[in-house]
């Protein structure tokens, strides 16, 4: 128990170091653009592929469930849309990104730690925490929402294709998409995404930053980072939903 409290304490101390104003703005922006590529663009294809297929499968499952002629067919599109916006795109994609981006960040920073690159930064008078972590956090907070919006659209597209494959007409599907659309759901989805983005990058950076030992420990840090950020994503998903939707 004490161990966890200490760890949380260290996490907040690190975050305080991370959120100090970057001294060299041009270098910060250069890194930020690199990170867009590393934490965002590089995940684009996996996000799109998964979203397309999940959208398709959700639609097919709904179509099979709603076999009753009394239930209107347009509900299929309606359910697919809300499932994607509310839960699949923000939460599932976040979990996938925790695996992909989180492990990447933890092992990158961890190997910089064990090879004394972080010491070398510190000794050059650079705030290594801020220099290494801040661009990643900002990039993910800005870019993950874009990924999630794309995921929603591609998911719906996948749903449409899936629907057609099982005889749901385009007219029904589109009618469902237009039914009782609540813009607040999108806000809720994006708020979740921003929180998840912060959790993934900051927690993974934390475990990387405090790696001790050798290559083996870098691997461990990276696993711990993925497990713990996934758990926290689920916990915060619950909390945010309680706060915003009920």
């Amino acid at each position: 128990m004490l161990k966890y409290i200490k760890e949380i304490g260290r996490y907040f101390i690190l975050m305080k170091k991370v959120f100090s104003f970057p001294e060299k703005k041009d270098i910060f922006f250069k890194q930020l653009f690199n990170e867009f590529e590393k934490v965002g663009l590089s995940s684009l294809s996996i996000v799109l592929i998964i979203s397309f297929f999940v959208g398709g499968v959700v639609t097919i499952q709904q179509a099979i469930n709603i076999d009753d002629p009394l239930i209107p067919k347009y509900l299929i599109g309606f359910v697919t849309r809300d499932a994607l916006i509310l839960e699949f795109s923000p939460t599932m994609i976040a979990l996938i990104l925790a695996g992909k981006v989180g492990s990447n960040i933890a092992s990158e920073i961890g190997s910089m730690r064990i090879s004394e690159q972080i010491d070398a930064l510190e000794i050059m008078g650079i705030n290594s925490a801020s220099y290494l972590v801040l661009p990643k956090i900002i990039a993910s907070i800005l870019f993950f929402p874009i990924l999630v919006i794309l995921s929603i659209f591609i998911g719906i597209f996948g749903g449409w294709i899936g629907g057609i494959s099982i005889g749901v007409t385009t007219a029904d599907f589109v009618l469902g998409l237009q039914t009782e659309f609540s813009p607040f759901y999108v806000s809720y989805s994006l708020i979740k995404t921003v929180v998840f983005a912060f959790l993934i990058t900051s927690i993974s950076a934390f475990y990387g930053y405090f790696t001790k030992g050798g290559a083996l420990e870098v691997g461990k840090s990276s696993t711990t980072a993925v497990v713990n950020s996934s758990i926290l994503i689920l916990i915060f998903n619950f909390i945010i939903t309680e706060l915003l939707l009920t």
Binding site: K24, S115, Q117, D119, A120, I123, M124, G125
Partner: protein, 252 residues
């Protein structure tokens, strides 16, 4: 000159450095020798501020480290070059970008001036035309040399080297040693080198400190080294057969 006054450092219960007072002179290669675990790296990291110290004072040319605020520490660090044991090159940057890194951070030089400085530093370590290589493409000796080039990019007043030739073949090791000596004398740097390589000691030791269980047991130069009566030092120095033979030959 760096003056260390009664420095002590412990990790929890483990007293690693015990009341150390030394003067590390300018324009000389100050060697810290001692067996593994004697506290050499800890000493170095205390000097450059990567470890906090429990007791004592460090003066960088009469500037007390303990009296410095963050801004002054930052300024001091720009005067410090460090060669880490593994080189610690930033592996996502090319050789040129590595050496340019401190220049980008701390100077307002134009790109052309920075390039010139990079090429000058590379020529100092005999690595012209390697600008575009990445650390993963360098051999161990080249890595160390690039790390030296980066360490001298800002014209440091103080140069710290942690086991600069561990893991290198004897020939490359001598090359690195001579390079450090040359740079130290040419630019009048206060250089501190950690080593347990007796070859380096003979090669470049102008001011030698022998550290044992966190205490300085002996100090002197390479000529006095083999004449010492200190038991621990003799055990350390003559651990290698070669030096034993050399000593016996001297006696006969």
């Amino acid at each position: 000159m760096i003056e260390v006054q009664s420095l002590s450092k412990s990790f929890k219960e483990n007293l690693v450095l015990d009341n150390i007072s030394v003067k590390l002179e300018r324009g000389k290669t100050n060697l810290i020798i001692g067996e593994s675990g004697s506290g050499k790296t800890t000493f170095l990291k205390c000097l450059i501020g990567l470890h906090s110290i429990d007791n004592g004072e460090i003066l960088f040319d009469n500037r007390k480290f303990s009296k410095m605020n963050d801004k002054n520490i930052r300024k001091l660090r720009q005067e410090i070059g460090v060669l880490f044991q593994g080189g610690a090159l930033y592996d996502y940057l090319s050789v040129e970008e590595n050496i340019m890194f401190p220049l980008n951070m701390f100077t307002k030089l134009s790109l052309k001036e920075k390039r010139e400085r990079v090429n000058f530093c590379l020529s100092k370590v005999n690595l012209e035309k390697t600008n575009d290589l990445f650390p993963s493409e360098l051999s161990g000796g080249m890595t160390k040399r690039v790390a030296i080039a980066r360490a001298i990019a800002l014209n440091p007043k103080y140069l710290f080297c942690d086991e600069p030739n561990s893991g290198l073949d004897p020939k490359t090791a001598i090359l690195i040693d001579n390079l450090i000596l040359e740079i130290t004398e040419e630019f009048n740097i206060t250089t501190i080198v950690n080593t347990h390589d007796m070859n380096s000691v003979i090669q470049i030791g102008s001011n030698i400190l022998f550290i044992h269980h966190g205490k300085i047991l002996w100090r002197g130069n390479k000529n006095d080294l083999t004449k010492s009566k200190n038991n621990e030092l003799n055990n350390f120095v003559f651990a290698s057969k070669l030096f034993k033979t050399l000593r016996n030959e001297n006696f006969t």
